[in-house]
């Protein structure tokens, strides 16, 4: 099993969700985050004092998938999130050892979906 974490542009969330649903990935958890990457931030002036904001709003999506779902999950995220401009985001894949469904106590790959 894999844990997929993606950082995307906030306004792309609906598209990503749609792409994931089309790829039959129905489960996910979403957090909001601030990201710092190649994308330049913006500058604000508050009462005459300028400040650089280089933490930009991002959405963090976390999805646990079985190995055979990994590729289509990644592809779906890319499909939904890509604009081709700096700031589109990243996807991180890491190993997942176990999953427990709290409601039933089921464990492992069966619990993931």
């Amino acid at each position: 099993m894999k844990r997929v974490v993606a950082y995307i542009r906030p306004e792309k969330l609906p598209d990503v969700k749609k792409a994931l649903f089309e790829a039959e990935v129905f489960k996910m958890s979403v957090t909001n985050a601030l990201g710092c990457g190649q994308q330049k931030g913006y500058s604000t002036t508050y009462r005459g004092v300028a400040s650089e904001v280089n933490l930009l709003k991002k959405i963090r999506i976390e999805i646990a998938v079985n190995d055979d779902f990994l590729d289509r999950t990644v592809d779906a995220i890319v499909k939904g999130a890509k604009e081709g401009r700096i700031g589109d985001g990243k996807i991180f894949v890491s190993p997942l050892e176990d999953v427990i469904r709290i409601r039933t106590g089921e464990r492992g790959p069966a619990a993931i979906g």
């Binding site: 906030p10 306004e11 609906p14 909001n32 913006y42 604000t44 002036t45 508050y46 709003k57 959405i59």
Partner: protein, 458 residues
Amino acid sequence: MFRKLFLNKKMILPAIVFLVITGARILHAQEEAAPTIASNAASIADTVIAVDTVWTLFCAFLVFFMQAGFAMVETGFTRAKNAGNIIMKNQMDFAIGSLAYFLLGFGIMFGTDMIGGFFGWGGDPAQSGSLRPFTFWLFQVVFAATAATIVSGAMAERTKFTSYLIYSGIVSALIYPVVGHWIWGGGWLSRVMGGAMIDFAGSTVVHSVGGWCALAGAMILGPRIGKYGPNGQVNAIPGHNIPLAALGVFILWFGWFGFNPGSTVSGLAPNIAHIAVTTNLAAAAGACSAMIFAWFRFGKPDISMTLNGALAGLVAITAPCANVSPQSAIIIGLMAGVLVVVAVEFIDKVLKIDDPVGAISVHGMCGSFGTMCVGLFAQEKFGGVNGLFFGGGVNQLLIQLTGIASVFVWTFSLAFIMFKVLSATVGLRVTQEEELRGLDIDEHGCESYSGFQIFSTQ
């Protein structure tokens, strides 16, 4: 200044000069040994003017406070990322409008009639009828600003700030004053078809002018990104702060007690309480019927629709408030509450015009509806004519409809041209990038809720 008067009798204060010139009669009556009938009469006249002035000023202050109400409603019903921008627009349209109406607008509205009632010229802001100098101007400027500020809600979350500033000046200096002249300034609608259009406190003059400008603006601007899906489906873009919007509605309702009763411009007018009561009942009825109708239509008592319902009742009663009975006011309010729900849906889903706060429905539609109601519900015993339902025939109704239609044509056309020109020159809409990121950051370089975690997925 004056406050020292009675504490330090020896001081010769500038204020005394005033008293000597104009206020002296009263003091004389008090201080001198022998008041006469004439001196009493003069003192009474002076007191009457003072009461009228005090009343009119206080009502004007309440109407001013409606600016805060509009700002809160519009902020609450839009997204957090544009909150500062809408606040700025609300503040600046009052600031610019005040100056424009002082320098130009008032003259056009209340000046000497030109070209057969089409506009006025040369009115002096100090001129105040029998009220103290400048009283009338203050009361008028807050009305002008109300008309102007209505538009910001309909055009929220995507309009370029510079264009909005220019628009504010034009509407306060020209578009609104011309309509005002027609109906209140002695223009053609005040002497038409053997009668006069009755728009006591401005359902048409103020609200529908605002509403039709909003219509033109929202049409030309186009909807916010994401409001309508590629296949025409309609998406909800919920407002970010319902308590603030509700506070705004309470402030507006409060301010309306200045708006309508104050339009007597006289504290001695015997119907000021009557007007306050029709105003209040229509608002209450509008809130009730909008809630019930929305409940019936959508399955739940929608908060924003109910808030709009109260405003709909207020806007609708604004024209007939002095000429109808409290019972009629309730009926007018009930109808306005239903109308606003229907209108919001119609504009949103059928016309596909994106009006984030419902300004077109509340002010344009319900304003016109209320103006029409004068022709239906007016009763001669309240000081005007009889409307259709009270045996007065259709004449007044036709006058009202003529007024509604002419104001629509004038306002919509001018606003349409104005926004088209702005669009072609300064540009009316921010870029897609700016709209997505929020106008606060790109137009003003700030965040309105610094530190708060806000999801900005739309």
